[in-house]
């Protein structure tokens, strides 16, 4: 039976009661305010424009009201199976939404890494006050519920002018204990002036058939001239639900480059809000999604140019197989007075099967005149001539198709840069194994 809003409320209140008092009354007040907002908003439905093509009915029917049990901790959970040969400078491991210190290691010089739970325990006001500073109480019921009920997350602060030598990794592992639970986490990434870092986030699950709801809100703040390269690979179990909200704020001359891959989960949605707060900042978003039978992948971008002289570029590509469904919504807004803005968005979809469906909606809302903005989107198939060409070179039909699919996505896959990630993606996307 689908739980009611009050079921969600009850569980969330229970969670709030168990919070350490050191996190401060105001933190609890903020959670309660978010809960109120959740009650007022409820869960979105398809009448709401942002959810027009993405039904949440299936997700709600699963009844993910209870958060994962966080009392059990540092079991191994086969974490070793998921490690990649990456020359990381640090790794944070989250199992079922909880930070596991025993599996984590991170550098000390110039980077402060901790968990939100630790910040709540010590009452670290500076950190806690940043929670929700970019996301607000939540644009929809899910986001509000996350703020009200999150119990852990990562806090990464890179100090002024510090440049990390290698990537930091956050590994999200869902164990079999997550079955039927929701995993509400939040990350805070604070890049101080002139700092540079690379962050890799991966979402994996122990059991490829486990069903849970991973909901994550990430707030990323880049001070002047800070640069962040952010790579995210969502490879949840094929039965899992995944929702990510990314809020990125850029100050003068800051630069953010995000590369996203969504290939797991039965239902996944990634919402990326990019706000330019000062001029001369730059944002790049690249992404790929691949859906097979019974999968839905949804990307929502909101790139907001409210100040002058910022530039952004977005490129998302999707491959649809079986009865897969994909939704893409890319909004570029240019506010009054945001002159000299430049924004280009591109979305391409390759539809390989009869049962697949894609709904794509790029949008431009422009309120300034001295701008160069464009968007382009396409839906198409593999080119018969290209297949013929490859076959004439001795490849069989299946190989030829696989090569073309791989080639179609290569431009995005390459942005993951690290050989280990590229290989992981290509292996997981299994172009050759696909019969279509």
């Amino acid at each position: 039976m689908t739980p009611s809003l009050s079921d969600y409320k009850r569980w969330t209140l229970q969670g709030i009661e168990t919070l350490p008092m050191s996190s401060g009354d105001w933190m609890i007040d903020r959670r309660l305010a978010a809960l109120e907002r959740f009650e007022a908003l409820g869960f979105p439905d398809r009448r709401s424009e942002a959810w027009r093509y993405t039904s949440v009915e299936g997700l709600l029917k699963q009844g993910f009201v209870a958060p994962a049990n966080t009392s059990q901790s540092d079991q191994d959970d086969g974490i070793r199976n998921h490690l990649l040969p990456l020359a990381t400078v640090g790794r944070l491991v989250f199992i079922d939404g909880q930070f596991i210190e025993a599996h984590s290691d991170y550098p000390s010089g110039g980077v402060r890494v901790s968990s939100l739970k630790a910040a709540m325990a010590t009452g670290d006001r500076k950190v806690l006050q940043a929670v929700g500073s970019l996301s607000g109480l939540g644009e929809d019921g899910f986001a509000a519920l996350n703020l009200a009920g999150f119990h852990d997350g990562a806090v990464i602060q890179v100090a002024q002018d510090v440049r990390l030598d290698g990537p930091l990794e956050i590994l999200h592992l869902s164990s079999s204990r997550a079955e039927g639970r929701k995993l509400p986490t939040r990350h805070l990434i604070l890049m101080e002036r002139g700092s540079q870092a690379e962050l890799i986030e991966r979402f994996v699950s122990e059991d490829q058939m486990s069903c849970y709801f991973n909901h994550q809100v990430v707030e990323i703040s880049l001070a002047e001239q800070a640069r962040l390269n952010h790579k995210r690979i969502q490879m949840e179990s094929r039965q899992a639900y995944h929702l990510s909200d990314l809020h990125i704020a850029l100050q003068s001359k800051a630069s953010y480059h995000g590369v996203m891959a969504a290939i797991g989960g039965c239902w996944s949605r990634t919402f990326i809000s990019n706000r330019f707060q000062q001029p001369d900042a730059h944002c790049e978003l690249d992404g790929l999604y691949l859906v097979d039978d019974g999968q839905l992948a949804d990307f929502h971008l909101d790139v907001d140019h409210q100040v002058a002289s910022c530039s952004s570029r977005e490129n998302f590509k999707g491959l649809l197989r079986g009865s897969g469904r994909a939704v893409f919504d890319g909004l570029i807004q240019v506010g009054k007075g945001a002159q000299k803005s430049e924004a280009h968005l591109h979305n391409a979809n390759l539809m390989l099967s009869r049962q697949a469906e894609v709904d794509t909606k790029p949008q431009l809302m422009i309120l300034a005149d001295d701008v160069v903005c464009s968007h382009g989107t396409s839906v198409g198939q593999l080119d018969d001539q290209a297949i013929f060409y490859l076959r004439s070179r001795g490849l069989d039909e299946q190989r030829a198709r696989a090569l073309l699919c791989q080639g179609f996505l290569a431009e995005i896959v390459d942005k993951f840069e690290h050989q280990a990630l590229i290989e992981l993606l290509n292996r997981r996307m299994n172009f050759v194994g696909s019969t279509e």
Binding site: K336, Q339, S353, E357, T360, Q363, L364, M365, S378, G380
Partner: protein, 481 residues
């Protein structure tokens, strides 16, 4: 300036301060809408009982609906009880000479190159015997009758060809379609009916212009065009001259039906009163236009040049049911001052090999706001459907707005759908090049804008295209530079 504006507003609002009008209200319903009004409209027009029932059904449904709020437009709420829903056409005020016409309107006619006689007709001046539109219309009708084409007012059609109207009316735009379509279905005042029999190529372009004095269609216009198998027709609506109208709300419905191999080309030039320089007044234009390509290889093409109205809300659409059917949408929408336009199209691909093309050019100047909103849907059975969409927006001035909201829904893997959109201002490089060749800035901008719209203008019938170009220049006067 200010005075002529208020004069113009007064004209539009129906308060003719000059006092040359007699007994304006004698056959106009008092404001308000209820079942009795709907019955009274139907009775006035001597409609058959089934039409009345249809109107009532639409009215009852309309009561259950809410005014849509999703479009990128802002206007004060419309009080539907403050509107008069029927005004007898015979009272359109007659002026005695052009001297009584607002000089600003005359100046615009002049720039558009409209002949004196036409000017009189457009401004509502009694037309002399030499240029009697009725006689023109009569000769016109004779040649149409020879071809078997029916071209008349919809109220006439309801009288003379009730079965034909009954068969097709509301078959493309049912009254439940949307709020304004429901309102129109309940209270439509009049409109045009066109029937092209099998295999007939309409001998001339049909234009509402020829019906201008014959029937003032009022604010709730209803148009129905049926093209039987193998027939062809080109229909022109509106005219480039600024239209004077006392009604603020316009909610028209246009339905097109194209059978096998039939071709319908529907061109619109809309230049209604856009409101004054402060954004007051102006027409609200909420139109539902839809074409149904029922037969195989049928073709419907919409071309529109929208420069008028304070608020425009219209999405001429094509339902591509037939195999190999073709839908086209070419649009130029200009907004300046405080004008707002939310316009675009829907291409619903159902038939195999159906193809559609969308070219939309939006120009926003001053505080104008322009939105393209379009849907391309490829249904599961629409094998090899093809769509190409191109939307460009040109921005002039730093307070204007341009939005693009395309929706693309594809359920068939053989579909090829492409959408591209750009938004930018007039390129400095292009301007520099033109100025270097000795053009003034204004001429250069006007040339660039005409080039920007060329793809759409070339779809218009010849005379229309020339007028549209001039209209564009007039519309953007003062907005450039």
């Amino acid at each position: 300036m200010g005075q002529t504006n208020s004069e113009m507003e007064a004209l539009i609002a129906g308060e003719y301060a000059q006092g040359f009008i007699t007994q304006i209200d004698s056959d106009t319903f008092p404001p308000g809408l209820d079942e009795a009004v709907v019955r009274a409209i139907s009775e006035r027009k001597g409609e058959p009982e089934w039409m009345l029932q249809k109107r009532l059904e639409a009215y009852r449904h309309w009561l259950t609906m809410d005014q849509p709020d999703w479009a990128a437009i802002n206007h004060p709420p419309i009080d539907f009880q403050q509107i008069s829903y029927y005004s007898s056409p015979k009272q359109s005020p007659k002026l005695e000479s052009l001297d009584q016409v607002d000089p600003e309107i005359l100046a615009t006619y002049e720039k558009l190159g409209i002949s004196i006689e036409e000017q009189k007709a457009l401004a509502g001046v009694a037309v002399d015997a030499v240029f009697d539109s009725v006689s023109v219309a009569t000769t016109f009708r004779e040649s149409l009758a020879e071809a078997g084409v029916i071209f008349c007012a919809i109220s006439e059609a309801l009288r003379d060809y009730p079965e034909l109207v009954r068969q097709y009316m509301a078959s493309v735009v049912p009254h439940k379609d949307n709020f304004f379509a429901a309102l129109n279905s309940a209270v439509f005042s009049d409109g045009t009916f066109v029937y092209i029999p099998k295999g007939v190529k309409c001998p001339m372009e049909l234009s509402t212009y020829f019906r201008i004095n014959e029937a003032k269609t009022g604010q709730f216009e209803r148009t129905l065009i049926i093209a039987e198998a193998g027939s062809e027709v080109s229909y022109l609506e509106g005219c480039t001259a600024p239209m004077r109208d006392e009604n603020q709300l316009h909610a028209a419905v246009v339905e097109l039906v194209a059978m096998e191999d039939a071709k319908i080309k529907y061109s619109t030039v809309q230049n209604w009163y856009p409101g004054d320089h402060e954004g007051k007044g102006g027409i609200y234009n909420f139109v539902t236009k839809r074409g149904d390509c029922r037969g195989d290889r049928s073709r419907i093409s919409w071309t529109q040049v929208e420069t008028g109205s304070a608020v425009t809300w219209k999405y001429p659409s094509c339902i591509l049911r037939g195999r190999d059917s073709v839908g086209e949408f070419y649009s130029v929408a200009v907004t300046k001052g405080f004008q707002q336009a939310d316009t675009g199209t829907k291409m619903i691909h159902i038939g195999e090999n159906s193809r559609s093309t969308i070219v939309s050019k939006g120009i926003s100047a001053m505080q104008g706001s322009n939105a393209y909103r379009g849907l391309v849907r490829v249904a599961g059975k629409a094998e090899n459907a093809r769509n190409h969409t191109r939307c460009d927006s040109l921005l002039i001035g730093d307070r204007c707005a341009a939005h693009t909201f395309p929706y693309i829904e594809v359920k068939n893997p053989t579909a090829k759908v492409e959408h591209e959109a750009t938004t930018s201002k007039v390129s400095e490089d292009q301007l520099f090049y033109c100025r270097q060749r000795g053009l003034t800035e204004e001429d250069a901008v006007s040339m660039i804008i005409n080039g920007f719209c060329k793809e759409v203008f070339q779809e218009l019938p010849m005379e229309f295209a020339v007028e549209a170009q001039k209209l564009l220049a007039v519309s953007l006067e003062g907005a450039v530079g």
